[in-house]
């Protein structure tokens, strides 16, 4: 390991430097697509894994899947049965799709997703789980015969994580001043702004009502407001949330 030919290392670092210097999401995406294309991949997605009440579309950071697959996946909510996103909850490390475990005999829905994916020439895939405290996502990349030796995997891992981070940074809404709310606090406030009670928000987001109240109190503390209405108002005016 100590004597690695640093070819892939240099290449990955150059890629990250270029990504960090890029000013638009289009520029980042075109470099990312060229890079994975050279490694034999033709499709990818970077997205949060939907929990109940969320759609894949709203959680997508970058969509490089064939339109037909994305539509199918979103419409049939395949992320709930697909073994690849499921495995993201169980590991911190990147993995190959073939290593996402499922019972081929009894888990028919999972097997069906993996089989249907082959119709789109997704013969092999590589998935990088993204873990936050309050959400899980993934960067998932697929192709027919991609290069997946250990060095390439490491490079692909590094380049993908930084491309994902840069895309998120470039697509954040321009708020007035630095952002103070966490993603989950912002989401709770967005539902409050739409008139949902804490209980309703809890049902929608599949978290407890108590938890919802907690997030509202945290947001209130951060924005130095006195009640829920004022918190929503200040968050809207400062563009911490956008409806």
């Amino acid at each position: 390991m100590q004597n690695l030919e640093p070819y892939w290392g240099r290449r990955a670092l150059d890629f990250v430097d270029a990504i960090e210097a890029s000013k638009t999401t289009a520029c980042v995406i075109s470099q990312f697509e060229r890079m994975i294309g050279n490694l034999g991949f033709h499709a990818y997605i970077m997205a949060g894994i939907p929990t109940s009440g969320q759609s894949l579309k709203q959680l997508t950071v970058a969509n490089g899947w064939p339109a037909e697959w994305f539509e199918l996946y979103d419409r049939e909510n395949l992320s709930s049965v697909d073994p690849v996103p499921r495995h993201c909850y169980n590991t911190l490390n990147p993995f190959e799709w073939k290593d996402a475990p499922y019972d081929r005999e009894y888990d028919k829905p999972a097997h069906r997703v993996m089989t249907r994916a082959r119709d789109f020439r997704f013969h092999e895939g590589f998935c990088i789980p993204i873990h936050y405290d309050d959400a899980t996502g993934a960067i998932s990349i697929a192709g027919e015969h991609p290069y997946l030796d250990p060095d390439t995997r490491s490079a692909l891992h590094l380049m993908s994580v930084f491309a994902h981070g840069r895309l998120r940074a470039l697509s954040k809404p321009a708020s007035i001043g630095p952002r103070r709310l966490s993603d989950i606090e912002a989401e709770v406030l967005r539902w409050a702004a739409r008139g949902k009670t804490a209980w309703e928000t809890g049902q929608i987001m599949r978290i407890s009502e108590r938890n919802v109240r907690w997030h509202i109190e945290e947001a209130q503390r951060k924005l130095m407001t006195t009640n829920k209405t004022a918190t929503v108002a200040v968050a809207l005016v400062n563009r911490e949330i956008v409806l």
Binding site: Q2, P6, A12, R179, T225, V234, V237
Partner: protein
């Protein structure tokens, strides 16, 4: 009351009683829980060759109980990256007076991921940046597990990779250089909703400290609700 204390050779005598629990916590977390067996020692304390008098510690104390900590080492002296994981850094060795290496960053399991008040993990990250700004640092090197990268990105820590992630003890690990600057500190500050500096400098009056950016300018929301 949560306090984060700067502990270094100049004031270590004030914190002697915390060092035994500190090394025992490290053993619990890194040897017993995470199974880094190379660090195992028969006396149940995890102490390594980098715990020298030049190491700087941040101790997070809650009513006198140690609940989290972090260690910073000057990169002019031997570090984990220079002595143990040199192959993780292919950009060239970093030995600079304005860069420290961070290691052994932990919060005890009972206090992880709390929702009431700022999270201890975030407080520690903010505190070390406050320390860096105060003593004139521009960056931190860290050898860390790769799954931290999206968390750093999300909280505003700007990490620059120094080489490829490599599998070590079943985890994907890499070396990074993180910027230490006022913008990052301010952004962390407002994200966790703090209104005053986090660090306690007991017994360190003799140390020259650079002024922190004015916090009062960032505390109020851009639009104040009328009261």
């Amino acid at each position: 009351m949560l306090e984060i204390h700067v502990v270094r050779k100049d004031n270590r005598h004030l914190y002697e009683r915390y060092f035994d629990p500190y090394f025992r916590l490290r053993h619990d977390i890194y040897v017993k829980q995470r199974k880094w067996m190379d660090l195992d020692r028969p006396d149940g304390r995890e102490i390594d060759q980098f715990d020298t008098e030049d190491a700087v510690y941040l101790f997070c104390l809650d009513n006198g109980q140690l609940i989290g900590a972090m260690r910073a080492l000057p990169t002019l002296l031997p570090t984990l990256m220079s002595d143990i994981f040199p192959y993780l850094n292919i950009r060239g060795e970093i030995r600079r007076p304005d860069v420290y290496e961070l290691s052994r960053i932990f919060v005890i399991p009972e206090r992880r991921g709390e929702h009431a008040g700022p999270r201890v993990e975030m407080l520690l990250l903010t505190a070390i940046m406050e320390y860096g700004i105060s003593i004139g640092l521009t960056g931190f090197t860290i050898v860390l597990e790769a799954w931290w990268l999206p968390r750093f990105e999300r909280c505003g820590w700007k990490a620059h990779p120094l080489g490829l992630p490599q599998p070590i003890d079943g985890m994907s690990v890499l070396a990074v250089l993180v910027d230490c600057d006022e913008a990052t500190w301010k952004s962390l500050y407002s994200q966790i909703g703090l209104t005053k500096p986090t660090l306690t400098w007991r017994g360190l009056a003799g140390i020259t400290r650079q002024a922190l950016p004015e916090i009062s300018t960032l505390a109020p929301p851009s639009v104040q609700p009328t009261r």
